[in-house]
Point group: C2
Chain length 475, copies 2
Amino acid sequence: MKITEIKELFDLNESGDAKIDEFSESITVGGWIRSIRDSKTFGFISISDGTCFKTLQIVYDDTLPNFKDISKLNVGAAIIVSGRLVLTPGAKQPFEIQADEVMVEGNSTSDYPLQKKRHSFEYLRTIPHLRARTNTFQATFRVRSLIAYAIHKFFQERGFVYVHTPIITGSDCEGAGEMFQVTTLNVDELLKGNNKSAEDVEKELSYEDDFFEKKTSLTVSGQLDGETYAQAFKKIYTFGPTFRAENSNTTRHAAEFWMIEPEISYADLEDDMELAEDMIKYIIEYVLDNAKDEMEFFNSFVDKGLLERLNHVKDSDFGRVTYTEAIDILKEHNDEFTYKVSWGCDLQTEHERYLTETVFKKPIFVTDYPKDIKAFYMKLNDDEKTVAAMDCLVPGIGEIIGGSQREDDYDKLIKRMKELGLDENEYKFYLDLRKYGSTRHAGFGLGFERCVMYLTGMSNIRDVIPYPRTVGSLV
Amino acid sequence: MKITEIKELFDLNESGDAKIDEFSESITVGGWIRSIRDSKTFGFISISDGTCFKTLQIVYDDTLPNFKDISKLNVGAAIIVSGRLVLTPGAKQPFEIQADEVMVEGNSTSDYPLQKKRHSFEYLRTIPHLRARTNTFQATFRVRSLIAYAIHKFFQERGFVYVHTPIITGSDCEGAGEMFQVTTLNVDELLKGNNKSAEDVEKELSYEDDFFEKKTSLTVSGQLDGETYAQAFKKIYTFGPTFRAENSNTTRHAAEFWMIEPEISYADLEDDMELAEDMIKYIIEYVLDNAKDEMEFFNSFVDKGLLERLNHVKDSDFGRVTYTEAIDILKEHNDEFTYKVSWGCDLQTEHERYLTETVFKKPIFVTDYPKDIKAFYMKLNDDEKTVAAMDCLVPGIGEIIGGSQREDDYDKLIKRMKELGLDENEYKFYLDLRKYGSTRHAGFGLGFERCVMYLTGMSNIRDVIPYPRTVGSLV
């Protein structure tokens, strides 16, 4: 049985070359019932098959032998319909199917949690296995998928090598946040106070007995490993899950999220910013081209002004301002901020948004931050006070990307590590890169969920992850 | 400074339209020294910049002011060279650069571990941060990247939605293997026998105190969650890391590896096999088209016969045989096997390879396995003894893909779960799919590293993962 996809029908219809007449004989479609209503002799069913945002209208009548059974179907039921496609000029939908046969693939019980009414996002979070069947989450998770692909496409077309940096790590030196421990030690027994191995009740357990014979954690960043591959392939990117065991119960923090971390050799901070700008524009363009219905939905029902904002970003030349200049600008408006700024402080979201929305009115890169508020691996500028860092700020949310040129000088890197009390032995692999053919190089990190929120206008990170993991919550 | 990539030069040269003359003025290239040799008045340097498999020859002579310093450079050093591109008909390489200037971007110390000689894979595993600079690992990890992209491209072009199923899971019901525990409990203290929280030394710790307020693990498969999204989007795929805490120290097992798990609704086992066959052929074709040099290298130096085998797979119609038929065939050759077969046994690699290499001489799907050797969720056939499972076997390695149609009947699924003593409450979300618009559906799993090994001929899983994690070993 050949099942025609709803997307195929709409694509043909929109292509305008009347190929849709090819279907004038009889076609078969399958989908899940979004709504159903009937009168005495006929009825309408709206189905979604998940291949596109649009639904398809089915018309059925009492010439069908199972007319009464069809009318009793519940929302959520899966059906397969054979019939003729009929153009409906002037109607809301461009065409519909007049059913010759309606087969029930799987009925739905009357307690189906997604009735045809508006459900709150909070409620939908309690049924993550079903919420992708609603308009909002169909749109969100299709766009999430398209963004992921756009990112791969962007980097692969430019010859970048995709690197899977490890998830389980033996170092606690990635330095970007609190870590989850990974273990095969019997924690159940340890909680009972029983620190003995089963094989030998006399023997006390230690990390020697753990799977990797040492203490291990979930990665918080692939950057340092990514750099090792950039010194072999020139241009690489990572795209994988990262983890933070932080007790932050906000709309923007998840314990498990995906990150993209490109790294480029023979490249400086300017090359890094160009790459970031090109990437953001490419993603926006790809999504606008490939998810028109979804983006219009978000613009109408989730975040009015979204399309205008994204188009503006796509068409702007991103601005540049140093941290020092930015502080000078912001200081003049300190009375408008909750947190007052002065040179040396970290920028808060209120400052970032003020710069990009009110001052520059477009995306900007803020560069050359004080070394003391940035990571040890960032390249020290000649002033010895600032580092070659950049944050990309966009209207609507503030920071979306953070990156830097990396310190490529062995002696300067060692000096900075010592100042910060870092253990050289933990970073031997990283220091090797500065001994064996060191190059100027740079990279940045893009939080994938932050990017999905930005492109969809969805405001809670729990609503852009299929099964979100946040503190105290794992559905 | 515009740095031209070596790939660009070779692409232009191979395009045959003499555009390479555009570079007759002066160009700048950058790369890492693979070899260097000099005589009194001139020298040759071979550099790689990681953008392609080929190296570029630099010729320099004593008209350069730093001639002597150049000659002292070590293998591994990073240089930037400006000069003229000169075609060298008849020579091993099609062109070379005659240097007007050689700048040292970063020297390499004489203890550089990758001298110009053959290193064993075992040795290279001890320097995972450097091994990608060798021919074999350049080829392996570029092909790994290309395979990953081919997989995304294949599914996205067909309208599949990419789903990030969760890495941290609260269920231990995925059933595919031993799991790693994920925790923020203070294991260091627990090992000391100190089961008290720091805040309140009187209070004993429990999973209530863990990050998610319950016991959590690393996922072993995204399939069950993937199915929930296939019932919303019709066609989905996952591509993410999975974990097995199994004490298997073999050349084919890693504790951390990536899996691709597509799932299709309104689809049966036949549709599933067609999808798998199309995908494998697509990946092979993509890699052969986009990594010619690398694949020829593997064919010459790693696995003679590789290209012939892959081309054969690409051009074959995959065969079909039921498990029962396969057992009948194999039984006749039981004297050739270490493990003798009989109906009901699981197939070993020796049996799988015999079927695909000796009997069918092409890739095959073995279908309809005994239910007792397959997972609970596979669809029961009418004979009530077998399930609608399929394994795809390919010459050279045996099983590369395993999949099945899923049990979509609520009552049959519950019955099977009870037979196997599974806890219904743990699977409520999964059972819901059979209550609310259940559809026939199917899917499969492809172990990504297994796929990379198959396409490169690399025989140890440790050599196709940038930073492999295996039992007792985490570099």
